[in-house]
């Protein structure tokens, strides 16, 4: 599907790639250079593929709160929070960002690859009195990320720089379709903009034109994936699946067990008690190599497979190959205590050690 900014990326000679049926920039110059720019200055990402839903009607907040793991009703209007949408066996339909713009208005930002499935799931679990709207059609969405973002966002002269972390502003004039938040998925300070193409295009043009003087670079999916992996943030389809719970993925912080019971809660708790469940863990390679998704994790003592890599990569900041893997509980404890694992890459075993998450300090944790 053609997104509105594709002609602009093509003019910049971006290398494009297919992502869940959307043509998106993989990189503009170099993935490593773009990732570095985001950690040290700022990058601008096209995230127009992401989903933006609006739930409208009396009791919308409460109804959505019943479907997600975090407590939307405990968060003030205009403040966003991260949560998961469990399925009825406790696994995961998607992970999302939520915010209420009123008692009867909840905005949801979700993954591109799950947009249709999410829509069907949420619709089927909402009372008919509530409207569910997909605002993502013909939208432009941008992520401005990096320590220079506050100075760059002030170029827009909209006062966005006065927003606090996780604050969301919704439009008043462009009929409930704008979402502007101080959020992101890179571990750095920054803003995300969602809205109709005609409302966001001027922001894209303004940032692209004036931002470079303050260190802004255009950045693609390659850098975005590397940055999120350095922070050990999960990616749906890799760390999160219909079988894996928030607990499996180490996202306990996103599950509120004290709030009113939510759909899938009991099944999640049941799965948490399963002594056989795999655990998501961070690792770094002790030798040269790049682990990739689906690489087997091996117990070097027995040669037995004890896990599988979900996301892997190479980062100069981490110091080489690194990634996330689901590991069998029989091996997990020893691995955490320092026992080496083997990661099979191109048929060769590479030594790997446990690493705590995140792998690097992002700007948000450096402060």
């Amino acid at each position: 599907m053609a997104l509105p900014l594709v002609p602009y990326h093509t003019r910049r000679l971006a290398r494009m790639t297919d992502f869940h049926g959307y043509l998106l920039p993989l990189s503009f110059s170099s993935i490593l250079e773009e990732a570095k720019a985001v950690r040290e200055a700022a990058g601008l990402f096209d995230i127009s593929h992401m989903g933006h839903f609006l739930v409208k009607g009396p009791g919308a907040r409460q109804a959505i709160n019943h479907l997600v793991t975090s407590d939307l009703e405990a968060v003030p209007l205009g403040k966003s929070l991260y949560g998961l949408l469990p399925n009825d066996s406790g696994g995961t339909v998607d992970d999302l960002i939520l915010a209420s713009s009123g008692e009867g208005e909840v905005h949801i930002i979700l993954n591109a690859g799950n947009r249709e499935g999410d829509f069907a799931w949420i619709r089927s679990h909402l009372p008919p009195s509530l409207a569910l709207l997909d605002l993502s059609i013909d939208q432009i969405a941008l992520a401005l990320q990096g320590p220079a973002s506050p100075r760059i966002v002030s170029l827009l002269s909209q006062g966005f720089e006065t927003m606090v972390r996780r604050e969301v502003r919704f439009s008043t004039d462009s009929a409930e379709r704008l979402w502007i938040s101080r959020t992101g998925y890179t571990g750095e300070d920054g803003w995300e903009f969602f809205g109709p193409a005609e409302a966001i295009l001027p922001i894209y043009k303004s940032l692209s034109e004036k931002g470079p003087d303050l260190g802004l670079v255009q950045a693609g999916l390659g850098a975005r994936d590397l940055l999120r992996l350095e922070m050990a943030y999960p990616l749906y389809g890799q760390e999160l699946t219909p079988e894996k719970t928030a607990f499996d993925a180490g996202l306990d912080f996103a599950v509120n067990l004290r709030k009113a019971p939510f759909l899938g809660r009991e099944q999640m708790l049941e799965k948490r008690e399963d002594p056989e469940r795999d655990r998501l863990t961070g690792f770094v390679l002790a030798e040269r190599g790049i682990p990739r998704t689906h690489c087997p994790v091996i117990d070097p003592a027995t040669g037995r497979q004890v896990g599988e890599v979900t996301s892997g990569g190479h980062s100069p900041r981490v110091g080489g190959g690194f990634g996330l893997a689901y590991i069998d509980p029989s091996f997990f404890n020893d691995f955490m205590k320092g026992k080496e694992a083997g990661i099979e890459i191109h048929g060769k075993i590479h030594r790997a050690r446990f690493h705590s998450r995140p792998f690097v300090a992002g700007g948000l944790t450096r402060k």
Binding site: R15, S30, I31, L32, E33, G222, I290, G313, H314
Partner: protein, 132 residues
Amino acid sequence: MSSERRYTPTHEWIQSSGDHSLMRVGITDFAQKEITDVVFVELPKIGKKIPQGAEAAIIESVKAAFSIYAPMGGEVVAVNSAIESNPALVNSDPYGSGWIFELRADDPAQWNSLLDEKGYQALLVSGAGGGH
């Protein structure tokens, strides 16, 4: 065989490196752009005999791993150790200091099976290349 450079549909280049059966191999500018930031190269062992079209090296980039196939069969006689310490040379100078290995070609007739500059450019335009 002169100093002419020839190509494979999988985006390797090969060129005589002085004497007529000593051939230098690398990847094309198109390939390095596709591959993105090269992080390291798994070089073949010197002395290894590689048939034409067989995997000779692996390039690991930020994006993925890519196999490099021997454009002509022969024995590996040299590898570019400079790209071990500075793999970005493959991106910045793919036809020069970013070369990958040299082989002693054992069948000069294989040269005729390779694409010339015009043929390779036509392949890029048609988008029919494969491998990477």
